[in-house]
Symmetry: C2
Subunit: 136 residues, 2 copies
DNA sequence: TTTATATGCGATAAAATTAGTCGTATATAA
DNA sequence: TTATATACGACTAATTTTATCGCATATAAA
């Protein structure tokens, strides 16, 4: 429990690798995949999502690849999680507008509100840690 | 991602329910299960684990049930997670003594140490929130 | 001492989530 | 024109989580 998905892990690894090679040619997903030992197809999809969210830029064709569009001191872990359409949700009901379909106990539940508080704290923590701080 | 398992959720619900009824007869797992809408077999096992860890006390036989052994102001979320043999492990490699079987990249990994730091922060946060604070 | 009602617990099954793969289309520099 | 890249939906596999089953043991009350 409380784990970071491989998608997020791979994305952090790749983003850092791209950031560190910004001054050279752009890195292809094939090269990132080979160098970091990340499954190629999976990585490609992650990078495509990051393109759509404006975090990286892609160049198709021969000698194509990816470049970082944002400052790695400003990109937070929460930003990355968001970009991959994931989220921090401690329980089925810990989001605005949850109803009985999400949890049978919701109407007289004594843990939902404290869980929401805790979730907010974790969100805040994840929003305060940047890509640079996530790597050494 | 980043969720609290049903086991932990059910345990918190049950522990609070037991705590609130401490002055009456001890609550049977059947009653807790019925009242809180938690699968009976699952809840029983969770309570059995909590007995083994000294968090609750059980009384078998007719009119048996469970009683809390610890102060609900001192029992932390981390204590409960521990008692259920779960843990906060952000990645496969974020524990002492992780090796190549846990991650192919471990020897020149630039995210392990920051992940460990983040994990420690979450552990600390979870150790500071008590059963009382987890309920309202 | 019998009975009803509890907990104890290993084994297994079902469900859900996460991770990984495949096929095909499109883009583009050389 | 060709080689090398990204784009992306559909699908499969693996893992983890959640739930169930069957049987054993304990004990208070009738």
């Amino acid at each position: 429990m409380i784990k970071i998905s491989k998608s997020v892990e791979y994305s952090i690894l790749a983003l850092k690798y791209i950031a560190d090679n910004e001054n050279f040619a752009s890195l292809s997903s094939r090269k990132i995949s080979d160098d970091l030992n990340i499954p190629y197809d999976l990585l490609s999809k992650l990078l495509q999502k990051l393109v759509r969210k404006g975090i990286v830029q892609s160049q198709q064709g021969k000698y194509g690849g990816y470049n970082l569009l944002v400052d790695s001191n400003k990109l937070s872990l929460l930003n990355i999680i968001d970009a991959l359409d994931e989220n921090i949700q401690l329980a089925n009901c810990t989001f605005d507008g949850a109803n009985n379909e999400d949890c049978a106990r919701i109407n007289n539940c004594y843990i939902r509100s404290p869980f929401l508080n805790l979730q907010n704290k974790i969100n805040k923590m994840f929003n305060e840690i940047t890509l640079n701080e996530l790597t050494n």
